[in-house]
C-alpha cells in the first residue's frame, strides 16, 4: 500500500517535471506564432499604405484646376447673334474668338503667328462651350463685359501644379520661355489661379484632360450596378432559398452546388465572352449599354450572392424552423416569417460585397463594348456608357500629364465608393442582426 503510494507520488513528480520542462517550449512556440501573425499583418498594412500613398500623392492634384480670369466682352456683332434663343446662331457663333480677344487685350505686345497661336493656347479649347452656356443662362450679357474664370490649357495646368520644371533647357519642356513670362504676369496679377476642379465631377470623358471628368462613368456605373442589383439579388436569394430550404438532397442538388462553386472561380472575362456571344450576338441587345453590362455582371456576381445567402440561411438555428413547423406553419410561412428575416443581414452583406466586386470589374465589360470613348453621360440603361474602372483603364493609357493625375483621382473616387459600400454592409449587418 505505502509502496504503491510512493510509486505514484514519484511518477507524479517526474511527470510534473516533464510538463514544466515542456512549458517553456510551448510558450516559445506561442510567441513565435504571434510574432509571425504580427509580421504578416504588418506586411499587409504596409502594402496598403504604399498603395494609398502612391495613388493619393499622384491623384490629389487632379482635384484642382488652373483657371485664368478674363474680361469677356460679349460683342453681338462679332458673335453675329441677334437673338439668344436662336439655336443656330448660338451654335455658329465664334465664342472662342471672344476669349482670344480678351487674351489679346491682356498681352497686346505679342506679334507673329507662332506666338499668337501660343497665346491662344493658354486657355482650354473648351472655352467656347463655357462662354456659350453663360450667355444661355443670362441672355442680358449680350453687349456687356463679364469677368469669367476660364479653364487653362492642360500644359499650363501641369506647370502650375509643379509637374513642369522651368530649370530645364527650353527644348526639353512643353512650356516655352515666352509662355513662362505670360504665366508669371498672369499669376502676379492674380489672374491665374488653382481652383477646385468642378469639371472633373460634372463632365464626361474628353480628349482634353482639362475637360475630362468622371460624371459619365459614375452614372454608367450607377445604372450598371442598378441593373445588376435588381437582377442578381432576387435571383440569388430565390435560388439560395430553394436549394437550402426546399430542394431534396440528391445527386442533382450536389451537382448544382458544385457548379455554383465553380462558377464563382471562373475568370470574369469568360462572362464577358458569354455576354458578347449570347446577349449581343444572339439576342441582339444594344452594345456598350448598362443593360448588357449589368446582365453580364449579374452572371458574375450570382455565385457570390447564392453562396453567401446559403451560408446565411444555414446559420439560422434549426430550432427556429422546428418551432415554426411545430406551430403548423407551412413551409413557405416558415421561410418568409422566420428564416428569411433572420438570414437577411447575412444575405445583404453578401450582396453588397458582390456589388462592390461588380463595381470594380473591368474585364467582362471590355468584351461588350463598354470600353468605348463616350463623352455624354448616359440618360438610361440603354444609352451607351462606360463605367468607372473602364474610365480609369482608358485614362491610364493616355500620355498627357493631366490624364495621369486624373487616373489616380478616378481611382480615389472608386475606392471611396468601395469603402462606402463595404461600410454600408457592416452597418446593415450590425443594424439587422438579431440574437436568439
Amino acid at each position: 500500500m505505502t509502496d504503491q503510494n510512493m510509486n505514484s507520488d514519484k511518477s507524479q513528480r517526474s511527470s510534473f517535471k516533464i510538463i514544466e520542462a515542456n512549458l517553456a517550449k510551448r510558450y516559445a512556440k506561442e510567441k513565435r506564432f504571434k510574432a509571425l501573425g504580427l509580421i504578416s499583418i504588418g506586411f499587409g498594412i504596409a502594402f496598403l499604405l504604399l498603395l494609398f500613398s502612391t495613388i493619393i500623392s499622384n491623384g490629389y492634384t487632379a482635384f484642382q484646376q488652373s483657371e485664368i480670369q478674363l474680361e469677356i466682352f460679349y460683342d453681338a456683332d462679332e458673335l453675329e447673334i441677334t437673338n439668344v434663343n436662336n439655336e443656330d446662331e448660338m451654335l455658329e457663333a465664334d465664342f472662342t474668338g471672344l476669349a482670344r480677344d480678351a487674351l489679346a487685350k491682356l498681352f497686346p505686345e505679342v506679334s507673329g503667328r507662332k506666338q499668337k497661336r501660343a497665346r491662344n493656347q493658354l486657355i482650354s479649347s473648351g472655352v467656347d462651350i463655357q462662354l456659350r452656356n453663360l450667355l444661355e443662362e443670362d441672355p442680358s450679357l449680350l453687349g456687356k463685359t463679364k469677368t469669367v474664370w476660364v479653364l487653362a490649357d492642360d500644359d499650363i495646368d501641369a506647370y502650375m501644379k509643379g509637374h513642369i520644371n522651368r530649370e530645364l533647357p527650353e527644348d526639353d519642356r512643353r512650356i516655352k520661355d515666352f509662355q513662362l513670362v505670360w504665366i508669371d504676369t498672369l499669376e502676379a496679377a492674380g489672374n491665374l489661379k488653382l481652383k477646385f476642379n468642378t469639371v472633373f465631377f460634372t463632365h464626361g470623358d474628353s480628349r482634353e484632360p482639362e475637360l475630362a471628368g468622371i460624371w459619365g462613368a459614375v452614372k454608367g456605373s450607377f445604372y450598371t450596378l442598378m441593373v445588376t442589383l435588381l437582377l442578381s439579388f432576387p435571383i440569388g436569394v430565390a435560388a439560395a432559398v430553394y436549394l437550402e430550404e426546399f430542394a431534396k438532397q440528391n445527386r442533382w442538388t450536389d451537382l448544382i452546388e458544385v457548379n455554383i462553386n465553380n462558377l464563382a472561380a471562373v475568370p470574369s472575362i469568360i462572362f464577358g465572352l458569354l455576354g458578347l456571344a449570347v446577349l449581343l450576338g444572339f439576342f441582339g441587345l444594344p452594345r456598350s449599354t448598362p443593360l448588357v453590362g449589368g446582365m453580364v455582371l449579374t452572371l458574375m456576381t450570382l455565385p457570390t450572392i447564392i453562396i453567401s445567402a446559403r451560408a446565411a440561411l444555414k446559420s439560422v438555428p434549426p430550432s427556429i424552423r422546428e418551432a415554426a413547423i411545430g406551430m403548423g406553419a407551412s413551409p413557405m410561412q416558415v421561410v418568409t416569417h422566420h428564416v428569411l428575416p433572420l438570414a437577411m443581414p447575412g444575405m445583404l452583406t453578401g450582396t453588397i460585397i458582390g456589388m462592390a466586386q461588380a463595381l470594380g470589374e473591368t474585364a467582362p465589360l471590355l468584351m461588350i463594348g463598354m470600353a468605348a470613348f463616350i463623352v455624354d453621360a448616359p440618360q438610361g440603361i440603354v444609352d451607351p456608357s462606360t463605367v468607372l474602372p473602364m474610365q480609369i483603364f482608358q485614362w491610364s493609357d493616355s500620355p498627357e500629364r493631366g490624364f495621369v493625375e486624373r487616373t489616380s483621382a478616378a481611382i480615389i473616387v472608386l475606392l471611396c465608393f468601395l469603402v462606402f459600400m463595404n461600410s454600408l454592409a457592416v452597418l446593415l449587418r450590425k443594424k439587422f442582426e438579431r440574437r436568439w
Binding site: 413547423i325 411545430g326 410561412q333
Partner: protein, 277 residues
C-alpha cells in the same frame, strides 16, 4: 439524428416483441398500431402499439437512442421534414389516420402541438410569440380577440404575472424556464388537443423544472400530454402512465405507479433501479 439506433436489421429477421403491460386504454385520444420507423435502412422504432388516453399525461422513458423522441415526433409528423425518414403502421387521432393523404399536415400540427427540448421562442416579442399560431391559422378576427387569447395562454402557462408589463420585450431575453413556459403558452394558444413535450426540462434548473411540472399537471385538465423525459423522478411525478422504451422497442407500459414500484420486465427494472441508462 440522435435517435439513430444500431439495430439496423430488417424486420423479417426480428421476432416480433410483445409489449409487457397494457398498451391500450378505453376511448384513446391517439392510438398507434404496429408502428415502424426507419431512417434510410436503419430501423429506429420496431412494431410499437400504444394508446394515449384523453386528458392523461403519458411519459416515455428509456436510455438514449431508444427511439422515444422519434416516436413522439411521428405523432405530429415532425419527421416529415427528414427526407430519409419513413413511417409504417397506423397512427390515429380521434379515429382518423394522421398519415392519411387527405389529412393536411398543417391542420394536424394545429391539433397536436409540440414543445421542444431546448426552449426555442421566436426572436420576436413575447406577445408575437404567443400570437403567432392564432395569426397563421386565422383563429382571430380582431385585435381584442387576439389579446384575449394571448392573455389566457400566458395565464395557463403561469407566465402572465411575470410578463404582463413587458409583452413587447423580446421572448429571447427571458430566463430559460420562462422561455420554455413561453413555448408552452405559444403551443396552447391554438388550443391543440394533444401537446407533445420532448424533454422539456432537460435544459432547465430544478426550480424552473418544478414550475413546468406543476404546469403540466394543471394543463392535464384541458389537454392530453405525451412527454419524453430522461428523469425517472419527473416521469413518476407528472404522468399517469409510463412507457419504457429500449432499442426501438416498447418494452413495458402501464400505470406509472405500477411501472416504478413493481416493474414486470427485467430491462425496465434494471433501468429504473439505475443499473444502466
Amino acid at each position: 439524428m440522435n435517435t439513430l439506433t444500431n439495430t439496423g436489421n430488417s424486420v423479417e429477421q426480428q421476432e416480433i416483441y410483445t409489449t409487457v403491460g397494457t398498451p391500450t386504454v378505453e376511448n384513446p385520444k391517439m392510438s398507434i398500431r404496429d408502428m415502424n420507423v426507419f431512417y434510410a435502412d436503419k430501423q429506429a422504432i420496431q412494431n410499437i402499439s400504444l394508446d394515449v388516453g384523453s386528458n392523461e399525461v403519458i411519459s416515455m422513458i428509456g436510455p438514449s437512442g431508444c427511439g422515444k423522441s422519434t416516436f413522439l415526433r411521428t405523432l405530429n409528423r415532425m419527421n416529415d421534414t427528414i427526407d430519409i425518414c419513413r413511417v409504417e403502421g397506423t397512427i390515429k387521432l380521434d379515429g382518423q389516420d394522421i398519415y392519411d393523404t387527405n389529412l393536411d399536415v398543417v391542420a394536424l400540427r394545429a391539433r397536436v402541438g409540440m414543445v421542444f427540448q431546448k426552449p426555442n421562442p421566436f426572436p420576436k416579442s413575447i406577445y408575437d410569440n404567443v400570437a403567432y399560431g392564432p395569426r397563421i391559422h386565422g383563429l382571430v378576427s380582431n385585435k381584442a380577440e387576439l389579446d384575449e387569447i394571448v392573455e389566457t395562454s400566458l395565464r395557463k402557462a403561469s407566465l402572465w404575472d411575470e410578463v404582463k408589463d413587458r409583452l413587447d420585450a423580446p421572448g429571447t431575453g427571458m430566463s430559460g424556464g420562462q422561455q420554455q413556459r413561453l413555448c408552452i403558452a405559444r403551443a396552447i394558444a391554438v388550443s391543440p388537443e394533444v401537446i407533445l413535450m420532448d424533454e422539456p426540462c432537460s435544459a432547465l434548473d430544478p426550480i424552473a423544472t418544478a414550475k413546468i411540472e406543476e404546469l403540466i399537471d394543471e394543463l392535464r385538465e384541458n389537454f392530453t400530454i405525451a412527454i419524453v423525459t430522461h428523469s425517472m423522478q419527473q416521469a413518476a411525478r407528472v404522468s399517469q402512465r409510463t412507457a419504457y422504451f429500449h432499442l426501438g422497442k416498447l418494452i413495458e407500459v402501464g400505470k406509472t405507479s405500477d411501472v416504478f414500484t413493481n416493474p414486470t420486465h427485467q430491462l425496465t427494472e434494471d433501468y429504473i433501479t439505475g443499473r444502466f441508462g
